[in-house]
Assembly symmetry: C2
Homo-oligomer: 181 residues x 2
Amino acid sequence: MSEDIKNEEVVDETIDNETVTEEIVDETVESEEAPEKSELDLANERADEFENKYLRAHAEMQNIQRRANEERQSLQRYRSQDLAKKILPSLDNLERALAVEGLTEDVKKGLEMTRDSLIQALKEEGVEEVDVESFDHNLHMAVQTLPADDDHPADTIAEVFQKGYTLHDRLLRPAMVVVYN
Amino acid sequence: MSEDIKNEEVVDETIDNETVTEEIVDETVESEEAPEKSELDLANERADEFENKYLRAHAEMQNIQRRANEERQSLQRYRSQDLAKKILPSLDNLERALAVEGLTEDVKKGLEMTRDSLIQALKEEGVEEVDVESFDHNLHMAVQTLPADDDHPADTIAEVFQKGYTLHDRLLRPAMVVVYN
């Protein structure tokens, strides 16, 4: 019976006990000197103490493992973030080059192939172009506004200056747009 | 003496915890039922048992933490591996496009800019071109051999068909070369 009660006490202590090791040391020394405690009491105290420590270590181990797993998953998911971000200007350059008038058929084909393989590589890693259907301040940056009218209601996008991209649910860079307002 | 050693181990430990294990309760009951052992023996056994469990849990915790750190570092270091590998064909395309005769000055500049920004992005993530000074089977793949002679000793590289790249100490793809043999 008293065993059960001790175990319950251990659990409560455990919850808000952080370090304070000095305390434990002192207690042990005191107990040894205190004449009124029996050898059995001391042995039981030692048993309770290590049980408590064991339980805490076990719980912490599980926490560490859980956190490590979460971190690993996040690192995997967003691993391409830095390189992808740095590649976007190359993609912009390619698209600008393709917009130049009077390219020969050969050059145009080469540029298109390069652009497409770049977009494909990014896509496979989870990078997608930001949708520009209607203005969304989470995904777009308004670099210029035009007065809205009957044909162009507020939040209609008039022009995209630079494409935006996401990596899974993260924004790599917003789309730079002109918006009716 | 053994008390001192135990107390020192206690100092390393920090923790907050929630949990109780069924296991422990069962064991306690069992020990209480053994008739030939004194209550003190049993209490001491229980203490030793939890001390051992605690020490093992503590050691395992440190192992888990160390492994998680190592894994995190490796994931970080090679995080760009997949995207980098997929980008290499785009870089090849750009270099092939640049080798075409009769490009206008504008197109040539645009292509060079794109190529350079791509190489720069890769370099910042740890990607480097494989050196082709002398044949190295760890870094090069011989797609053709030519007979070695006085002017071209064995292992001299005659031509590079496709550039190779490393990410830190890892080979992303070998250089495809013609080698004297």
